[in-house]
Amino acid sequence: MKKIYSRPKSLKKAVFHYCPGCGHSIIHRLVCEVIDEMNLQDKAIGIPPPGCAVFAYYYFDVDMAESAHGRGAAVATGVKRAFPEAIVFTYQGDGDLAAIGTAETIHAANRKENITSIFINNAVYGMTGGQMAPTTLSGQKTTTTPYGRDDNLEGYPLKMSDIIAVVKGAVYVERCAVNSPANIRKTKKAIRKAFQTQIDGLGFSLVEILSPCPTNWRMSPIEAWQWIDDVMSKEFPLGVIKDITGGKDAD
């Protein structure tokens, strides 16, 4: 028998500090698999966020630089403009990209920056202990919405990918999830396509990934993965939101 599956080369051999069942672990691995398959290890520059993934540089064996909260798209803009040969990706949580980073994300997309944003949506602020995120669902209990999110007081779950899709410079926007084998495969395909969009110089790409946070959802990993199917993806439907890249699957 021969080994058909093992750790991707660009994923460092380190124990993840993420919780059991966390989506970050899966997504880090998928991004590294894509980096390996597309031979990008030499050229990739990743911009991780503050948040649980602040330690992404312990895992991704590519050049990486920390960004201030929310500023990933602006930092990536500076990187790409000064070093266009790099493949630049941000890796941002829902608070990072859709709360404090809304302006930077929208405007980077608007300027058609050739960067890729990987947007981890787990409907909560993980690292700081489970506060409300822009993508927290209506009625969802978090530490700052202890009575359940009230749309009239706290606003509605924000469909950031749909907002970005309206921006002309955004050419590929897809929402995926990592809560089942089928969805994990689709997420990998989307990440691959996003990097290809950048390599082809077509414009801004965004992959939103519904990601389980068992700890802050107060669920077991299996329950969390199920909740994405049963509840979260009803509010945040999966699929291609925009694709004007002109490829064979494009709109």
Binding site: Q41, D42, K43, A44, I45, I47, P50, V54, Y57, F60, D61, V62, D63, M64, A65, E66, S67, A68, R71, A74, V75, A76, T77, G78, V79, K80, R81, A82, F83, E85, A86, A103, E104, I106, H107, R111
Partner: protein, 350 residues
């Protein structure tokens, strides 16, 4: 040319690859100069960003990958940049930040003031750090110090702030550029350029280990001590026989020179100490003067900021008086010379 344009031209000649800015009075001519002269230059990038906050983060990004990068703004916009400047300092990344300051606090006024001295010289953002701060007082000096700022920034891996003001930015004077733009835009050797042929690197400021952060802080401050020893700069004007020394920087020093000429014509023995590096502040120069001179007048266009550095430097050796006009009011040389005369006679000087 105007001060604002001179900064732009000097930056281009220093090999500035990226400029990211945002409109704010009174520095718009600099942003526009870069739009006209940098944006179409091969390998270069100009972005009018969505905010001053985005602009400083773009500078951070460009600096990460080894480019000479610059941003500019005026007081309220510089406040927005403080987070980014703290990150640049923490990561030991070079960058040049130009503040053509105006009256504050708040939205303030659109004319010149010097009320960002504390913000510039005490770090400005969160955490223990410093940036080099240069205080030009003429259009020529704006050009010379802008060029120097890029070199200092790269040499010491520290952000450099050029603390100008609205008058300097708008005034027009002859200027000689002593440098040509380099044939190849520089790329810093320790930059992130992709993990080709070497292990991957990461640049970060966060640590969950306080001992690690403590050592980083000490290491930064050891570098600051080196900068103090090597780069402190100041100008003295007619101080050799002075009985009263005015301490002023930037446009206030320019006004003071005019005032001192008038005072000297009436026989008053007055001189000027003009700090050129506001950080590091020329404390040794003050201490040297204090061996002979007892009376000091600090003149600033603010409510009293540099005066604290003068007092700290004197360590009680000497008497310090203050004349300040905040809010964007620009005093005339004759007004300042009246203040000098009054003080001179009050102190019983001959």
């Amino acid at each position: 040319m105007t001060g604002n344009a001179a900064i732009g031209e000097a930056a281009i000649r220093a090999g500035c690859r990226c400029y990211f800015g945002y409109p704010i009075t009174p520095q718009n001519e600099l942003t526009e100069y870069m739009a006209t002269n940098l944006s179409r230059k091969k390998g270069c990038s100009f972005i009018q960003a969505e905010s001053e906050l985005a602009a400083i983060n773009m500078v951070y990004g460009a600096s990460l990958v080894g480019a000479r990068a610059m941003t500019s703004s005026s007081s309220p916009g510089i406040s927005l940049k403080q987070e980014g400047i703290s990150y640049l300092a923490a990561c030991e990344l070079p960058a040049v930040i130009v503040n053509m300051s105006r009256g504050g606090p708040g939205l303030g006024s659109i004319v010149a003031a010097q009320s960002d001295y504390f913000q510039a010289t005490r770090g400005g953002g969160h955490g223990d750090y410093r940036t080099i701060v240069l205080g030009p007082s003429s259009v020529q000096e704006l050009a010379d110090l802008t060029h120097k700022a890029f070199d200092l920034s790269d040499k010491y891996k520290i952000p450099v702030i050029i603390l100008g003001d609205g008058v300097l930015g708008q005034m027009m004077e002859p200027v000689e550029f002593k440098y040509e733009a380099p044939a190849e835009l520089p790329i810093r050797s320790d930059a992130l350029r992709g993990a080709k042929g070497r292990p991957s690197k990461y640049i970060k400021t966060f640590t969950s280990n306080p001992a690690e952060l403590e050592e980083i802080n000490w290491s930064l401050f050891r570098r600051y001590e080196l900068i103090k020893r090597e780069e402190t700069a100041w100008e003295t004007f007619l101080t050799d026989d002075a009985e009263l020394i005015v301490v002023a920087f930037g446009i206030a020093a320019r006004i003071t020179k005019g005032a001192i000429k008038t005072a000297r014509a009436s026989g008053l023995k007055v001189g000027l100490l003009r700090p050129i590096t506001l950080w590091p502040f020329p404390s040794e120069a003050v201490k040297e003067l204090a061996k002979r001179v007892k009376y000091y007048l600090v003149f600033e266009m603010n409510m009293g900021q540099m005066i604290e550095d003068v007092q700290l430097s004197l360590e009680g050796q000497g008497e310090v008086s203050f004349y300040g006009r905040p809010g964007g009011v620009v005093p005339t040389p004759s007004e300042v010379s009246r203040v000098i005369s009054r003080l001179y006679y009050q102190k019983g000087l001959k």
